[in-house]
Chain length 323, copies 2
């Protein structure tokens, strides 16, 4: 069973919605509710488990804490919302010492400060392995909410940065000889200390020309498919912006760099669908504001499915229930 199928089955169990103030439930990057008429709050949760999502052979507990917080911040940002606070439920294995818990919390806390999140509460528990369940809350004006749905045929698809560096970092962590020098450093940094695109998320939230938005956490091939399904569209991918480290790693491994980047997850770049007439202007303003280009990767189409270099593109990203 695929993760999305399990989610769909769960959705059927937990519906119907009781409170009308829940304006968006299960299935997007975050859920939305209405604390008062003029406000929307966004909430998202993510679990990182040692041995599943991270291994201490490849990253420190400090890095794992950082990533857990950033993953949630990225989900909040993907709604157009501004992160406000988080809670942390932490499972600690027997035999762990307090310095390990401290190291993990230092990472959580450093990432939280970076994206201006307050860690407002939590829970501590024994568990078979370090288990980090972060829940983040953000806020957004009702008019600025973006979801995965809303993309229309001919919208331009773009991402906020090059992809694949985090995957390259994982490969370098596993095999330190894969890359050298600055490329190795950049790959490991992307893997261990990713950054959520919070300012970019708010920027797109404020634009009426952004039809749909989500973050790339499970690999673009998987995430784009989710955006397409939610928007009732298909897509054509023309090109994939590949990070230098990812290109070098792919070449060393004998893989196609674009496909390597399409399958890589945890880049936390935002994927947006933008009205075709507005794209040029928005991309120009984006570059001026953030000092980096907005990368056009293709466009939405009516026909279902994703095409990449004249071939159907399958999901190659992360799925918890098929791997």
């Amino acid at each position: 069973m695929r993760e999305d199928d399990v989610v769909a089955a769960i959705r059927a169990i937990v519906e119907p919605v009781i409170h009308r103030r829940i304006v968006l439930g299960i299935g997007d990057d975050a859920a939305l509710w209405q604390p008062s008429r003029s406000h929307r709050s966004a909430i998202t949760t993510d679990m990182l488990v040692e041995g599943v999502h991270f291994s201490r052979a490849l990253m420190s507990l400090n890095d794992a804490g950082w990533r857990a917080m950033m993953a949630n911040a990225a989900d909040v940002a993907a709604m157009g919302a501004c992160p406000l606070l988080a809670t942390v439920a932490l499972g600690v294995p027997a035999g762990a010492v307090f310095d390990e818990v401290r190291d993990l919390y230092d990472g959580l806390s450093a990432a939280a400060r970076e994206v201006r999140i307050d860690i407002a509460g939590g829970d501590l528990s024994r568990a078979p392995a370090f288990t980090i369940a972060v829940t983040a809350v953000g806020e957004v004006r009702p008019s600025n909410v973006k979801t995965r749905a809303g993309g229309r045929p001919n919208a331009i698809l773009a991402v906020t940065g090059e992809l694949g560096a985090s995957r390259a970092g994982l490969d370098v962590a596993r095999n330190p000889h894969l890359l050298e020098g600055e490329l190795a450093v950049a790959a490991l940094e992307a893997f261990r200390r990713p950054r959520a695109r919070c300012a970019e998320g708010r920027y797109f939230g404020a634009s009426r020309n952004v039809q749909a938005m989500m973050d790339c956490s499970d690999g673009l091939s998987t995430d784009l498919d989710r955006l397409c399904v939610a928007s009732g569209c298909g897509a054509v991918v023309e090109r994939v912006p590949v990070a230098d480290a990812a290109r070098a790693a792919a070449q060393k491994l004998g893989e196609d760099p674009e496909r390597y980047a399409l399958a890589g997850g945890e880049d936390f770049e935002l994927l947006v669908a933008i009205s075709p007439r507005a794209f040029g202007h928005l991309a120009q303003r984006f570059a001026a504001r953030f000092g980096r280009p907005l990368h056009r990767i293709g466009f939405l189409r009516e026909t279902a499915g994703i095409e990449f270099h004249d071939q159907p593109l399958q999901r190659t990203g992360w799925d918890h229930f098929t791997r």
Copy 2:
């Protein structure tokens, strides 16, 4: 190291607070923030791990899901808040089948409906054992917020129900011969299907005479100590209302029923500190409204520490880091 010491150390790492709108951070049943001037939102999180908090030999996954949701609802209720929504991060061991995930979600969902919570989002992950991290959000008027702090000497301490039944249920689940008939049924029901006191929490929230409130989740001896520390008081416990099933179980086990109940956790009754002059009236109205008595257990005092039958009372409840 005690759990509360770990929490205090973590608090030092994650401070300071960035957003002024976080009006209450780590250390109470839930954190509070201000989505708009006239609103307060409460958030709490709790992790349940198979083999740590529950065992499938003693309860079904359905029951575990129910308890996970109720534990969070009880924390929200303890702030005087009304539960609104929850997210669920679920870790599923390799080899689990979808029917198990469904059973767990059925329990989560049934409890959520019972307390009018919408499950608005979640995350699914592999994990070494079933791991249920629920985060619940509730809402409360600023004037109705109650915390563990605020209790003053001479306040009357009371609980919303008899204690110890959940512990008796655990003992019966371990040893089915311990109790028989209705007592066994009541004990198992309290253990497997506890109920958060949401209406009672809102009721106390609306009363200016309730100085402090929390829920009894780790055992009254431990929870009362936390309320005392937060309020800068000590307490005298005069009597403990013991559930019939707990009394019978304690007697069979050769234990003192009151001490058995003091050490039992997961009853989810509310513990309140009430102005002495208002107690009689409030208790009368409580009984009329809920059809059950409000149980007076003792009073707060200036001198630190808790006294029970002329002896100092030690914490005998649940602590994740000393057991």
